[in-house]
Symmetry: C2
Subunit: 341 residues, 2 copies
């Protein structure tokens, strides 16, 4: 079916995976059409210079199914997702826009609950929703509710982050356990018969980012491993910077219950979405400072150094496995689960 | 059916009309949840102060059906719509975000054509798409493609516009003919058997706005009458400023063919969407300067003074009819046509 669809020249679910095919759609169709150097940097947001003021500007749409899940809902996700994209630019997020697409017949009670979540998440992150839009489409033309948030943040003098800035010798830190959000949504969707304590990690990371940048000014890259997971995000950084990245499997933080479900269902947690985690690439001599700053924050208690940037195999990520071997960690190749965020 | 849906406490198509029920959803559910003074101003975008730099920030989602129509397509509409919202704040639009939601199976050729339109429209308006997002949902979970754009512009010193700034004595100017976009989409959707030369007026108005503000610094309000049309937009201004507005039916510019179709189908052009027009409320002694600036621009050739702000009937719009009577022009009460933009 996939081959048929490609022959037919149509959009596939894989085009939205955050993985290889999504990357090709972006680099081969979307970027050439727009041909903009700012966009071509492929960072989580754009860094703009406006009359001497450095701003980060980012956008993200949320189509998660189900819209309510253990640990959060689409509203909280929409606030945290854009807050995090802006924070990953090294910016302090300040203002969000909020655009709703709702299906005719969508429950007003659900809408109220989502708006309450949005408000709570915005307050927690210290951002304000300052402009919005509401569209309603006929029943069947959309599934319940989709939310877009865009955001603006301000970048302090001296802060200059980007995927292209990783250099050999840098350490790679992951701020906590992998795959919690991905597995949470997956379990809801598959209607699994077993009960777990697993919940989404959705959280705003901007307060933790401020602490990291205070403690370790030599941070080179911050990136949140959402769609496509830690594995895909590390590949993006390796490609952007033209460096190799080497990670240690034994060092990767994962919740035992999440690891168990992944094993049972045959999912690789390296490719599952996170919504409250970040990857930090930092000069080796400041890695401990960055790690301590993370561990002192509620969002980073389980942060760990998971690897380093290397001069070998540029553009590739290699994992030293727990049993002493090596394997290449490629970008996510297919779509593990649509509508994860 | 409408009463049933309201009893069931669900979203109706009317909630997206830009009219009365949409206004109630915004003021009774969305605004109280967010409780933000910037948002509560209900202008086309938010005006933000960032380290001495005054920015306009706005968002809009486009779900138009069909996605290609005479005079434009969803891509061009998405660029022009947000460019115009920013221009209506008196700002010079600079940067856009672009977020796509596509249905599995959507044609890649259509996507390419839409991206080409987006690029062309952005170039024409002088803005850059600097950040983006792509989501794909399973077949049936969305209808073809929805596009969100958000945008940032910069406001020159001394410019201070807003719906609340209309004062009695001001003149009201409409920059051209009413209802072209609304009727275009309607004709496409109804599969009308007659051929017309009617096409959407979608256009970026920022260059014209710059000329207006240069010529007539005492402009108090700029607003583009999109969903809900000229009638609804005038009501919004009257409510925001607590003033009355009086318009002259005979002065309203309308294309004769559009007027004919409206009469035939029983639509009131005052409530049909425009995508390349603006309403300008300006101090009486500068009205002619503003009018001349518009008429000198390709987007404003048919601009006309259509009425004035009055101290009577605050919050209400009254029209002096062509036959010498008076009628109240209320906000759009129902949904004339969903997915107009």
């Amino acid at each position: 079916m996939k081959d048929d669809a490609m022959k037919e020249n149509v959009i596939l679910l894989d085009h939205g995976s955050g993985g290889k095919i999504a990357h090709r759609l972006t680099t081969e169709l979307l970027l050439p059409a727009l041909d903009n150097p700012l966009l071509a940097q492929l960072n989580d947001g754009a860094v703009l210079n406006l009359e001497g003021c450095r701003l980060a500007f980012s956008t993200d749409t949320f189509t998660v199914d189900p819209i309510f899940f253990p640990g959060g809902d689409i509203g909280e996700l929409a606030v945290n997702g854009t807050v995090n994209d802006i924070a990953m630019c090294g910016a302090k997020p300040l203002y969000l826009s909020l655009a709703l697409i709702m299906e005719e017949g969508f429950s007003l009670d659900d809408l109220k609950n989502i708006m309450t979540s949005i408000r709570r998440a915005a307050d927690k992150a210290g951002v304000q929703v300052v402009t919005g839009d509401t569209k309603v489409v006929p029943k069947g033309a959309a599934d319940k509710i989709f939310i877009n948030t865009s955001g603006i943040g301000i970048i302090a003098a001296g802060v200059d982050l980007g995927g292209q800035k990783a250099v050999p010798g840098d350490k790679v830190i992951l701020s906590g356990t992998m795959a919690d959000h991905g597995i949470t949504v997956m379990l809801q969707r598959q209607d699994m018969a077993f009960e777990t304590g697993i919940k989404s990690d959705t959280a705003a990371l901007n307060h933790m980012v401020a602490k990291i940048l205070d403690s370790a000014p030599e941070v080179h890259v911050l990136r949140d491993p959402t769609r496509g997971g830690v594995g895909t995000t590390l590949n993006e950084i390796a490609r952007q910077a033209g460096v190799g990245i080497c990670i240690q499997e034994a060092a990767l933080p994962i919740d035992p219950e999440v690891a168990g479900v992944c094993e049972l269902l045959g999912f690789d947690p390296l490719y599952l979405a996170n919504e409250g985690k970040l990857l930090c690439v930092v000069a080796a001599d400041q890695a401990d400072m960055a790690l301590e700053a993370m561990q002192a924050d509620p969002c980073g208690r389980q942060a760990a150094i998971i690897g380093q940037v290397v001069p070998d195999h540029p553009g590739r990520v290699v994992m030293e496995t727990a049993i002493g071997g090596q394997r290449i960690v490629d970008m996510l190749a297919g779509e593990q689960l649509p509508r994860i965020c």
